[in-house]
């Protein structure tokens, strides 16, 4: 693609690319913290206003049919170089915003499913979602202060994960730890692509 340099000093950029990585997991598991720890910009927290058409079938008893609702969306950015960025999107926690996941997941490099060992069941929906769509994901077990450090093998069994899916113990407040989770994901995604995954 050709972008004409129409003003002095404007560089002709042939291809700019922004890559999405999703950060999923249950409410309060540390998604926003993880984005904030690694993002070079303060994570943008936006409240999206959704029309009732977008929300679909929903329990809005007592509310008019033309109702609107808001959904919080956080994202952060890592610049790899001029014209190549990674965007981390914290997925909305509520199940009724699945349709928004579809949009976020389209074209995504992969996902991190954050898990809290005290509430592993909260991670099931995200695991199911990415498995069904063939989106590469890794599981990050957030080791909160005071939380018992779990054996990754137990987490794997509890979540019903195949042996291939990486499980990383992490601290979402620690930059090096978050970086390790992301490099694990990218490595896994490229290997998967090499093996003919979708």
């Amino acid at each position: 693609m050709d972008y004409a340099a129409y003003e002095p000093g404007a560089t002709a950029v042939t291809s700019a690319l922004a890559i999405k990585i999703l950060i999923a997991g249950g409410f309060g598991v540390g998604k926003t913290t993880m984005v904030g720890t690694i993002s070079e910009i303060r994570p943008l927290h936006t409240e999206e206003l959704l029309s009732e058409r977008g929300v679909g079938v929903d329990d809005v008893s007592g509310v008019e049919a033309k109702s609107t609702t808001t959904v919080a969306l956080d994202f952060g950015r890592i610049t790899i170089r001029e014209g190549l960025w990674l965007y981390l999107f914290g997925t909305p926690g509520q199940d009724r915003f699945w349709f928004m996941w579809d949009e976020l997941a389209l074209g995504a490099l992969g996902a991190v499913v954050l898990a809290d060992t005290r509430r592993l069941q909260d991670s099931f929906p995200a695991v199911d979602y990415f498995e069904q769509r063939g989106i590469p994901f890794v599981v990050g077990v957030n080791c909160f202060d005071g939380a018992r450090r779990h054996d990754p093998a137990k987490v794997r069994r509890a979540l019903g994960l195949t042996a291939l899916i990486p499980i990383v113990l992490c601290d979402v407040r620690d930059r090096a730890s978050v970086r390790d989770v992301l490099t694990t994901l990218v490595t896994y995604a490229v290997e998967g692509a090499g093996h003919g995954m979708p």
């Binding site: 693609m1 922004a18 690694i38 999206e48 170089r81 960025w85 995504a108 490595t187």
Partner: protein, 116 residues
């Protein structure tokens, strides 16, 4: 986040005439937006629209346009849809991940992450 007073958002949507969805083909949250060269008649544009054209002289992802403008993504996308319809910006079409991320890009991303 539901059940809270949506007052400020409602005001924001005044910018878009109450529209929550952009016109025309859909585009991704990280689709690259580029201001199209040439003299525009900008006098009629409101400041938010002009700000987009300024930011997107450098190809910029949709999400970043929203960050610059400090506007919700939905509102930003409506503005971008309007600007595209008027021929002020181009927005890349969504492409499958396999077509956009090749091994070279993966390598660059990995190296970039490791140097953080």
């Amino acid at each position: 986040m539901t059940g809270q007073d949506p007052g400020p958002l409602i005001r924001l949507y005044g910018l878009t005439g109450g529209r929550a969805r952009p016109q025309g083909d859909s585009f991704d949250l990280v689709a690259i937006v580029t201001t199209v060269g040439g003299p525009h008649t900008l006098a009629d544009l409101i400041p938010e629209y002009r700000a987009v054209l300024s930011v997107c002289r450098r190809p910029t992802p949709v999400a970043d346009v929203a960050a610059h403008l400090r506007l919700p993504l939905n509102v930003t996308r409506v503005i971008l849809g309007d600007l595209r319809r008027e021929g002020f910006v181009t927005i890349e079409r969504p492409r499958p991940v396999a077509q956009t991320i090749d091994e070279h890009i993966y390598r660059e991303v990995l190296d970039g992450l490791r140097s953080l």
